[in-house]
Subunit: 104 residues, 2 copies
């Protein structure tokens, strides 16, 4: 499993606007080869968000970042001034996994 | 969806030892009510790790941290000096989710 996280620090009073821009955006992700799932996570600290995506492999993620779908998804307009800082991207490979015994 | 992350900065030369301590540890998580999945994530930066767990709700996570299973899982011995810094816990709720169209 490969996970990419992009951490955002948003001006807290503009959190609603930030969330709305994600809801209204067409990410074109669902059909991308190797894409597994996406979540926009909201942290306990005001204005803290992570865009959290899971991929079958790092190569699948890299291929997406070089695709037209990526360009289209990032063309739609988040106004930059809702951010209090630059987004910070981090990438992770899982070295150990466990799941609940009972399917839910 | 609720996600708890604990970020670890490990002395890079002790990464193998850190990973082994997780592999050998019995987390007792699989049977915990509300637990969904766990992964130990390794970051691209040397010595960067996240213990990443997903729960049905924040309440399920909280109940686990107050349980005997939690105490047992944390009693097993990770030698503290593999860490270059204190672990940092963060908690997140998802505000938006998407999955691949094709089941994999």
């Amino acid at each position: 499993m490969f996970i990419a996280m992009n951490r955002f620090q948003v001006h807290p009073e503009r959190s609603d606007e930030f969330e709305r821009s994600w809801r209204e955006r067409d990410s074109y992700l669902a059909e991308v080869p190797g894409f597994v799932e996406f979540a926009l996570l909201k942290g306990d600290n005001p204005g803290e968000y992570i865009s959290h995506s899971r991929w079958e492999s790092r190569d699948a993620f890299k291929a997406w970042t070089q695709s037209d779908a990526f360009t289209r998804a990032h063309a739609s307009g988040l106004s930059e001034d809702v951010l209090a800082d630059h987004p910070r991207v981090s990438m992770y490979e899982s070295v150990l996994e466990a799941r609940a015994s009972v399917a839910r």
